[in-house]
Amino acid sequence: MKHTDDLKTYYRNANLSTDPAMDRAVLTDALKAGGLTYGKVPAAARGRNKDQTRRGSESPAALFGRIVMKNRVTKLAVAAGVILAVVLGLSLFTGNGAGKVYARMVDQLHGVGTLTYSQVTMTGVEAMPTVRMEVAFKNPGHLRTATADGYVTVIDSTENRFRGISLVPSAKSYIAFDASNMPDGSGAGPWVSLEKLQALPTQADELLGRKQIDGRSLEGFRVREGDTTATVWIDPATDALVRAEMEFANAPGMNVILSDFQFNIPLDDSLFSLEPPPGFTPMKTGLEADMSKVSEGDLIELLRMWSHWTVDRTFPPTLLGTEIPKIAMQMGREGKFTDAQISGYEEDQQVQIMYRGMLFMGLLPNGTWRYAGQNVPFGDPLTPIFWYQPQGSPTWRVIYADLSTADVTAENLPK
């Protein structure tokens, strides 16, 4: 025998049928033990079902429609992607030691009222999409991100709080959210990061000389700071930042490119409205979180819940990118999600878990984390799926596929 297929055929051809006496015994005992009856499904039994109670009488056809076309997990997963887009929009400008005082100082120095730019995030992982996003800021604290296919997020932030709304154009729906007690500096907007990028040439480790980019002659400077290598391209005629490229040693292949900066162009207030467009319906309301209480455990709960959602118990395809809503809908169409109830959580609880898990992701600065859970099923205690470096910590935290955790030194990180 040369192939496993031969054995499969041999196994299939090995005939076996149950004894009629056994069939009778099983049916008799099981029907009695389970209280099963022949004939029409009793109406009383339908009433016992949790979903039925909520929706009233529902035909099997309607049930199938709900399961396949309106699978709640799909909807929740889409919401997860929207939330992820929100926190990723923020994450570029959080952490890195930027404080409120410095942010205010920079703001005063520049007196900038608006800023727009393009952001391209490449993950370096084949299965994960490249995310392209247009970003717009307007003082004080208004942020808008939009992808090419129309996923829009608007955030109104103060020093330690943000609230916002995300639109899912394909479903004509939106989700609203709120987070309080943001860590120091996270409400500072883009100015701090831009100021740091602008200042990088004075600290350059490497001068790259002149290069033609998009028809412009620019001067390049490269700076290495911790895990991050930043390359900035400056217009020597104006000293204006034209393009910034960031790479991360602990996230090989991942990079972020910022370009097309425009300052103080008129931006209508309507772009930053928290009111949904006409015809959009809420996916879920009341998403609230105290950021001071968001922790690694929230991400672990999110990963656990997602692995219960998927039929094959795999983790999310990515924790990065506004592509997740589309991926989630595709997974729903392909029947890759189970029923939401299977997770063992209430629906409201599931939304909160997603929200808090995504917020934790948003608190991690770029380049300080790596996700490797795509196509990995829950369970193996030796397979790392996520690792990150807590701020100020000399070691990294690693989360494994059984959702256990460990502290690991940088040299022992998964390759």
Partner: protein
């Protein structure tokens, strides 16, 4: 209606007390489960007991089954777990073997069962019995029940690599044991 929807409809009716739905589920899966149990245990009586218990338990706990469940996977897992428990019950297992040896020199398959079990399955079962149990279980679940390595790893509470190794070694030995049977 697609296969997945049919399965979900069946589960939905079963959850809500339909004996017809349970009967269809039983008829659909009974032979595969019994074959798996026979291969794992090499004992038709024990295999029947286990399959009987699995279906009675499923009927008792129907309220906990989700409409979108992988029912086949759930049943297979349940059979595998019960077969393992049965084997681990050393006294019971030894007594069973001793009784079979006393009552039936031909082994655990009674002559009147031959028509039911079939010669090929007996050969397969006897060959599988020569494998270490973890290998036997991994091969049966992978080749017979067509489960993926991660699914088997969850059942065996082992790593995927370990399961793959068990399958590899088990299949190698099984090939040598069954070679003449398969060529035939």
């Amino acid at each position: 209606m697609g296969t997945m929807l049919e399965e979900r409809y069946l589960i939905w009716r079963f959850k809500h007390g339909s004996a017809e739905a349970f009967e269809r589920i039983y008829l659909k899966h009974k032979n595969d489960l019994l074959k798996l149990a026979v291969v794992l245990l090499g004992d038709v009586h024990a295999a029947e007991d286990i399959v009987h218990d699995v279906f009675v338990h499923v009927a008792q706990t129907r309220g906990r089954i989700k409409v979108a469940s992988n029912l086949k996977g759930l049943l297979i897992t349940s059979v595998a777990n019960r077969a393992r428990n049965y084997r681990r019950d050393a006294g019971r297992y030894r007594n069973s073997l001793a009784k079979q040896a006393d009552d039936d020199p031909s082994g655990p398959f009674e002559p009147e069962r031959w028509a039911i079990v079939g010669e090929q399955l007996q050969s397969l079962s006897e060959a599988m019995a020569q494998l270490p149990y973890e290998q036997c279980e991994a091969v049966a679940l992978h080749v017979g029940a067509e489960m993926s390595f991660p699914e088997i790893a969850r059942i065996q509470k082992a790593s995927v690599n370990t399961v793959q190794g068990r399958c590899r070694y088990g299949l190698k030995k099984l090939r040598s044991l069954l070679n003449s049977e398969v060529v035939r």
